[in-house]
Amino acid sequence: MSLDRSDIEKIAHLARLAVDQDRLESYANDLSNILTLVGQLEAADTDNVPPMAHPLHMVQRLRPDSVSEQNHREEYQAVAPLVEGGLYLVPKVIE
């Protein structure tokens, strides 16, 4: 599988990653090489093999639905880039 510059632009958009125009070619090249490596999986015979969900075949543990956490808003917001009045600030979303 070979990817080109426009594929990288699409993938980078899906991943919300800004990629410099002058790096598109090198990412396309690297990702194509990785996909060639990964392409070896195609030849594996996996008919009747169930996909592995968990190494120990565990199921999701459940706990009683009761309050176990306290409010840590101030501690958590202390490391945020921009907050005001307990809210995280981002550029205007709705006009």
Partner: protein, 483 residues
């Protein structure tokens, strides 16, 4: 003093021969003098360390100390440490002061270990050479022109250079075992779920596991004893009793069945490394073990499987870094999308971006079945190989890494070549099994690691098998020149 192990130092501390304060000051001075040449620490925490040492000395005097009390160590910078920068080797978290401690940190602190600082690492643990760190590469103490391995490269270099008595590491595809091998120390990756992942910054959640990096198997047993155990804060933590790891160390190896996978001794393995590993296996035969050739027929699928599963999980895990709640934020974003894209584009390095993009692609509409679903099936095949093998043998052995430490810059521009460093370690993570690396005879003066792979929850057996070897060999005692 700095050449001693946890076991030896613990005895000295409890006998009052020296204090944790003296030991801690000695190592802080060594870090100041010697680490500029290695770059194994991202952050040194002298105030934190001296306060912890003082508290440890008081505990020891009152007779309440345990085997780890007063022992100076370094935490890989992937573990959240309250009030101390937790960078994960990334510009993204260069300004991140964690509001809480990881469970591993909490447990080791409670045991009285003294944290000297935070160890350098590949960015978000993605790398096998410690060259992807935002803080620059770590140099191998055995040869500063060479890499220490990765991603726990700072941890391995610091322990090998006697800047810390022990370290924590994490292992997603070999990140404890490969740097342990390349730096000549002992490293253990426990069974998936054995050690809590809470507060350990996630890379690939179905593979990530924390473990000890030490100078002996005995030391690893003492650390794992404290690190292991059920944690309700980690939904994948396993609720199984923790064995007494030190108690099993002295069991005889007579009759132990060692499986040697033919696939781990074929093309791609450096012949001198192979000879060194074979020498170690001959030693095991002298200890009474029996060697059986086995096959892990799907071994060749491990690296390709990993490079679907790990990036897929990473692309999802790293979506939390959005420039809104913590970490790096770009300046003057035009709108929300620009905020996301530039914060992530500027905050992440190249290798992290490559893996996020591979994962995003593998999970995108139309490709999911071909990549992710197929990889989860081949992962089952790889896992089944081990299940079959452990019906015949007690432990599997082989090389940890296909070669000795390579030169800085040698592989960094070629991701696929770099990925092949982990050909012998990745399958263990995919299957969720415990694995270990211990030093054997060096090649050209550079360390070589013997890998041990055990059955699920067989950490005690691995530690026993490693300790018996270290009782009759001195490779784990070798010190790099200048340290």
């Amino acid at each position: 003093m700095h050449n001693k192990t946890i076991v030896e130092l613990g005895a000295g501390l409890r006998a009052g021969e020296f204090s944790s304060m003296e030991l801690t000051r000695d190592l802080l001075a060594r870090i100041e003098t010697l680490d500029p040449a290695l770059n194994s620490f991202v952050t040194v925490t002298p105030e934190f360390a001296l306060a912890a040492a003082e508290a440890a000395d008081a505990r020891i005097r009152s007779g309440e100390g345990g085997p780890l009390t007063g022992i100076p160590m370094v935490q890989k910078d992937i573990f959240c440490t309250k009030g101390v920068k937790t960078s994960c080797g990334s510009r993204m978290l260069d300004n991140f002061i964690s509001p809480y401690d990881a469970t591993v940190v909490e447990r080791l602190n409670a045991a009285g270990m003294v944290m000297l600082g935070k160890a350098n690492m590949d960015e978000f643990a993605m790398g096998s050479s410690n060259e992807t760190s935002f803080y620059g590469p770590v140099h191998n103490p055995w040869d500063r022109e060479r890499v220490p391995g990765g991603s726990s490269g700072g941890s391995a270099a610091a322990v090998a250079a006697r800047l810390a008595v022990a370290a924590t590491g994490t292992d997603t595809g070999g990140s404890i075992r490969q740097p342990a091998a390349l730096c000549g120390i002992t490293g253990l990756k426990p069974t998936y779920g054995r050690v809590s992942r809470f507060g350990m910054i996630a890379f690939a959640s179905s593979l990530d596991q924390a473990g000890p990096m030490t100078r002996s198997a005995e030391d690893a047993a003492l650390m794992l004893q404290v690190m292991a155990g059920f944690d309700p804060k980690d939904s994948t933590s396993v609720d199984e009793p923790v064995l007494d790891y030190a108690a099993a160390l002295n069991e005889s190896l007579a009759g132990l069945k060692i499986g040697l996978p033919q696939e781990y001794f074929g093309e791609g393995l450096d012949t001198a490394v192979a000879a060194s590993v074979e020498g170690a296996i001959a030693e095991y035969k002298r200890l009474g073990a029996e060697v059986v050739e086995i096959n892990l027929p799907n071994s060749a699928l491990a690296v390709p499987t990993y490079y679907v599963v790990a990036p897929a999980e990473c692309s999802s895990n790293l979506s939390r870094f959005d420039g809104v709640r913590f970490g790096y934020r770009c300046s003057e974003p035009r709108d929300l999308e620009d905020l996301y894209k530039r914060s992530r584009g500027e905050g992440f390095g190249d290798e992290v971006k490559r893996r996020i993009m591979i994962g995003t692609y593998a999970l995108s509409a139309g490709y999911y079945d071909a990549y992710y679903l197929q990889a989860q099936k081949t992962r089952q095949l790889i896992s089944d190989d081990f299940i079959q093998a452990f019906k015949k043998v007690d432990v599997i052995m082989g090389p940890t890494s296909p070669g000795i430490a390579f030169k800085l810059g040698e592989k960094v521009d070629d991701p696929v070549t770099m990925y092949l460093n982990d050909i012998y370690t990745i399958a263990t993570n995919l299957a969720g099994l415990p694995g270990m690396s211990l030093p054997v005879a060096p090649v050209n003066g550079l360390p070589v690691g013997l890998q041990l792979i055990g059955n699920y929850f067989a950490e005690a057996k691995l530690l026993n098998v490693a300790h018996q070897f270290q009782k009759v060999t001195d490779w784990h005692r070798a010190v790099p020149a200048g340290f």
